[in-house]
Amino acid sequence: MITLTALRSFSVPVQAPCITPENFAGKSITEIKALPVTEGNCNVTLGDLFKLEQTPEETPNITLNGDLGKVKRVGQAMKSGEIVINGNIGMHTGEKMAGGKIVITGNAGGWTGSEMKKGTIEIHGDGGDYLASPYRGNDLGMKGGLITVDGNVGSDVGCHLKGGIIKIKGSAGRFLGYHMNDGVIYVEKDCDVRTGACMVGGKIVVGGTLEILPSFTIDSIKPKVKVDNITSVTGPFYVFLGDLSEHGTGKLFVNKSANSALKFYEKYL
């Protein structure tokens, strides 16, 4: 295991896409120290910014400590192994991830797990905006894997989702699952407005309150819903279909008891 500890708190953004298990594998500590990163517009090395130590444990492969809120692109495109981040981390963590595991004990920045294909991201704090959403102009949403968030998440989470599961213990911001095609998003608490906007497929399960867009239509009431192979949630749930303006067939499961304001939809059943 390689432990990286930030030597100071960073005042400008640090881009460190080199911090992945693949990149560190087979390298000596001196070689790892020499890996290039940028601090603002300065080209520096990992050793300039972090204290590096090697310990014999196998997992996790990499541990990061310190004030890392401005450190971006950690674990970018990683394929295997495990990274543990003790504290907050900056944007684009685990972007284009294709396997392995990232554990973040604090909060994650925006675009965490963006365009990820496989693997697991565990966030014990809050997830940022654009969690598991693609880069601007793309529709390459998350394809597979699992993201769990213990806290809340920001806006535009799970855009263009094409597979995989996102579980959020807290509440979610606006535009959750925007234009999602497939996959599952489960929010235990409330959602901000416009949940599931433009969705064409997939499943969003909401345990708390939310507002339904006019372009969704009620389909049925179901007693419970399966989130993944091991979890199923009991409701009862209103099931909404949408987004009609996109001719979508996405399913929005809304906890009936938490949403008495939606009772009038029952007349269409």
Partner: protein
């Protein structure tokens, strides 16, 4: 008569503000057109204020004194309007939802009459907000 009004604030352009900003940010026109807040008639009644009364507009992000004016064109109870400019900025928020645009329109503010409190000029407002100005 209530002493506080909870309203939704919209900031935006007015032609007077446009004229004012082009004449110069230190100009009287700019001050007159920007250090104001437009109300619906009914809200003014409930607050007990008149055209030209000073009011305090407070949001989560800050608090500013401006002059109250009646909105001319239509009815907008519960909604107040401030021309964009340094005064409105004090109450605007920094929340961007990760897309670069801060909070300018459609957020809650609290308004109370502030009789006898002065509306700060641009120079004084800058000094109050940032501790410096052109002096």
């Amino acid at each position: 008569m209530e002493h506080k009004l909870l309203a939704t604030l919209i900031t935006g352009r007015t032609i007077e503000q446009g004229v004012g900003k082009e004449k110069g940010k230190g100009s009287e026109e700019y001050f007159d057109s920007c250090a104001v807040c437009f109300f619906d008639k009914s809200d003014m009644l409930s607050l007990g204020i008149k055209n030209g009364s000073t009011v305090r507009v407070t949001s989560k992000y800050g608090s500013v004194i401006v002059k109250a004016k009646k909105y001319r064109w239509g009815t907008t109870p519960g909604m107040v309007f401030m021309p964009c400019g340094s005064w409105a900025n004090v109450v605007c928020g920094d929340e961007t939802y990760s897309m670069g645009m801060p909070l300018y329109k459609g957020f809650p503010v609290e308004i109370e009459p502030a009789p006898d409190q002065p509306v700060l000029t641009l120079e004084k407002l800058l000094l109050q907000q940032f501790g410096r100005n052109s002096a």
